[in-house]
């Protein structure tokens, strides 16, 4: 590969513009109609999940929810480009992508609800656990891919991170390891302009985040992060490259975090409403709706069916989170290690005694 081929374009790849009109591209083809219809359904469901989760925080049913409102195209595309045996390594803001892989919405919310640190079996849906340290999961993705390559499997790993994460040392180490060992990993950066309150300009002086790729000897590409068609095309190409032995690559999506970092954040302290409003005009859902209707791929009935489906998911999420959690405090000890030490047995015994006393005094425990 020539050095120039590792560089991203000067402007992000776009196939459908903010008004729903197609943009011709010599390199990337528009995905087929069925794929785009499926993607649109994913967008509507993802938006509904984001908004439902946001509401559940306000009702006290979720401790916290880092919303991907506005980033649904990235979430849906990240999931759609992967095959059944591929693995997704998400961040805490990627619940919609996790759910798109087949994880039950309520299981994906276990961390954020506070019931446990993760609520699904990673192997069942090929989704690594979400957790809150930044960029550490990128190295896990690389090691996972190394093991797959070691055994001769054709698994592709897609690793997600945000713009803030690209400043972390583990981002550098992960891309470098992946390139040196030539493993099948796609690094997908959702550049949503903010790391909590700190803007991209304080993270990097590079021309773009995708430009970092050439420093590792891998291709980088930039894509409109609110254009699901372009995301499917660019990420799909990266996944194909990885699967066919072409090694890792870096994709940067230009998108925007429409809401505050979490409910605990106040984004009026660090960004203008005009900026947020400008990004609202570039919404990933509305452009696809306009596009599909213009192409005759979406009518009122289909729109209603999709909306109804999203409502069913939201209702299930609501019901699951409104139900009281069935928590077992003994889980604190159950999984620490496979082989339990006498010290933990002793402390577990102590907790059992407290649980017993609590059940006697207030029928169910006060904790």
């Amino acid at each position: 590969m020539q050095h120039e081929d590792l560089l991203p374009r000067d402007t992000p790849v776009a196939l459908i513009d903010k008004d729903g009109a197609t943009v011709a591209d010599e390199q990337y083809a528009l995905p087929d109609a069925e794929t785009l219809q499926r993607a649109y359904r994913g967008l509507v469901e993802g938006r509904r999940i984001n908004d439902q989760a946001y509401a559940l925080v306000r009702q006290g049913r979720l401790a916290v929810y880092p919303s991907s409102h506005g980033q649904e195209a990235c979430q849906v595309a990240a999931s759609m480009v992967l095959g059944d045996h591929d693995w997704l390594f998400p961040t805490y803001r990627d619940s919609v992508a996790v759910i798109s892989r087949g994880v039950r919405p309520a299981d994906a919310m276990v961390l954020l609800k506070g019931d446990w640190h993760s609520g699904y079996d990673p192997a069942e849906h090929r989704v690594a656990p979400q957790s809150t340290p930044l960029a550490t999961q990128l190295l896990h993705a690389v090691g996972f891919a190394q093991a797959a390559k070691h055994r001769g499997e054709d698994t592709v790993v897609l690793a997600l991170c945000g713009d803030g994460s690209t400043s972390e040392g583990d981002f550098h180490e992960a891309l470098n390891f992946a390139a040196v060992f030539h493993v099948p990993v796609v690094f997908f950066v959702q550049n949503n302009e903010f790391a909590i309150s700190v803007p991209l300009s304080r993270q990097t002086a590079a021309p773009s985040l995708a430009h970092k790729a050439i420093g590792y000897g891998m291709p980088g590409q930039r894509v409109d992060g609110n254009d699901v068609a372009a995301l499917l095309a660019v990420l799909g190409e990266a996944v194909d490259r990885a699967r066919s032995g072409g090694g890792p690559s870096l994709v940067e999506a230009h998108t925007y975090r429409m809401q505050a970092h979490t409910n605990a954040d106040d984004d009026t302290r660090y960004r203008d409403r005009d900026e947020v409003k400008a990004w609202a005009d570039r919404d990933p859902l509305s452009r696809m709706q306009v596009f599909l209707r213009a192409q005759g791929l979406l009518d009122d009935a289909a729109q209603q069916t999709i909306a109804d489906g999203a409502e069913v998911i939201a209702a299930a999420l609501r019901d699951a989170l409104n139900a009281d959690s069935d928590l077992d405090p003994e889980d604190l000890f159950r999984f620490v290690t496979a082989e339990r030490s006498p010290q933990l047995e002793e402390q577990w015994q102590l907790l059992r005694g407290e649980i017993e006393r609590a059940s006697l005094t207030d029928a169910g425990g006060h904790r």
């Binding site: 640190h117 993760s118 190295l139 690389v142 093991a147 583990d170 992960a174 999984f335 620490v336 496979a338």
Partner: protein
């Protein structure tokens, strides 16, 4: 610093005298040969065989896909080990020196130690983290630290440190076979010490070893401080005092049963460790002994540890490191006169 070339590694079991370095090399080789999921990697562990030659010959014998060099990045080594373990491998990683393991600390504490718990046991982390540690070899700054307390303080980690070639072999084999993550601290000072090794001997994680029988006082030591404790015991014996030495060897989990029985039998205890004493493994051992043996004690449990200073430069380290004299001084302070006047 070559020591592993002369080892016979074809026979199923070996009994012979070898250095601790050779015993560790042998354990790695046997584990790689027996389990296709075991991979060894780190910095300079391939062609060079490691800066201490611990991995000597492994890449050549087993191939690049079983023992390999990585980019020079410790968090990268540890983080990729986590990913490999998630995908069914048993990584054995080498951190080149104690202080150079620190860039990997986040991966160790936040993921290696927590992944099994986070996923309710779905993703276990059968990772062994080998770290040459401690002083006594004339190493410059950042090459002689005793960092065991950081790891032992972290729930989810098993922390081991051998003091003999036999334990180095047997404990490392047990560590690699363990479904849980193990931090394996190798005392640099003892790499070239020799001893009998029988590769058919197994060791259980979480157990201490009685290194010397004695009846008057129990000295609890680990790693490079075990030979120091044994030297003190030998001198004490010539002065008519019978010193029992326990090699703690498993810093977490801790073998309360063996240690408690030992101290109750003698009624006196001294804890010896090279690391700074404040908030240390030695403090923890001291506290546990007090809690469990208070009624049996003739005197307070004493600690002999490194000073609460950064590790000494090479030309001053003999002032820093606990030696037999310090141990004997501590033993002498254990209220022997009170007993004599009773």
């Amino acid at each position: 610093m070559t020591m592993a070339n002369d080892i016979e590694i074809e026979t199923p079991h070996v009994v012979g005298t070898m250095t601790m370095a050779a015993a560790i090399n042998r354990a790695l080789a046997d584990a790689i040969a027996e389990d296709p999921d075991v991979v060894v990697f780190g910095e300079d562990v391939g062609a060079l065989g490691g800066v201490f030659r611990i991995t000597d010959g492994l890449a050549e014998r087993f191939g690049e896909d079983r023992c390999f060099d990585t980019p020079l990045a410790e968090s990268g080594i540890m983080g990729t080990a986590v990913g490999m373990a998630m995908n069914g491998m048993r990584p054995v990683v080498e951190m080149q020196f104690d202080a150079f393991a620190l860039p990997a600390f986040e991966q160790v504490v936040s993921h290696v130690a927590k992944m099994g718990n986070r996923t309710r046991g779905a993703l276990r982390m059968p990772i062994v983290i080998r770290i040459p540690f401690g002083g006594g070899i004339g190493g410059v700054e950042h090459h002689c630290d005793s960092s065991e307390a950081y790891y032992a303080h972290t729930p989810g980690l098993t922390v081991l440190s051998p003091s003999t070639p036999q334990d180095a072999y047997s404990l490392l084999r047990a560590a690699i076979a363990s479904p849980d993550p193990v931090v394996f601290l190798e005392p640099k000072k003892l790499y070239w010490s020799k001893g009998e090794v029988d590769t058919s001997v197994t060791a259980d994680l979480g157990t201490a070893r009685i290194a010397r029988e004695g009846t008057d006082v129990t000295v609890l030591a680990y790693s490079a401080m075990v030979p120091v404790a044994l030297e003190a015991a030998e001198i004490a014996a010539s002065e008519g005092r019978s010193v029992q030495v326990i090699d703690v060897r498993s810093l977490s989990p801790f073998d309360d049963a063996t240690v408690t029985a030992a101290v109750r039998s003698t009624g006196r205890a001294v804890v010896v460790a090279e690391a700074p004493g404040y908030v240390s493994v030695a403090s923890e051992i001291q506290a546990r002994v007090f809690e469990r043996c208070f009624e049996y004690l003739e005197a307070p449990v004493r600690r002999v540890t490194g000073f609460d200073t950064p590790f000494a430069p090479p030309k001053l380290e003999h002032w820093y490191l606990p030696d037999a004299d310090r141990v004997l001084d501590a033993i002498d302070s254990l209220h022997w006169d009170d007993e004599a006047t009773e």
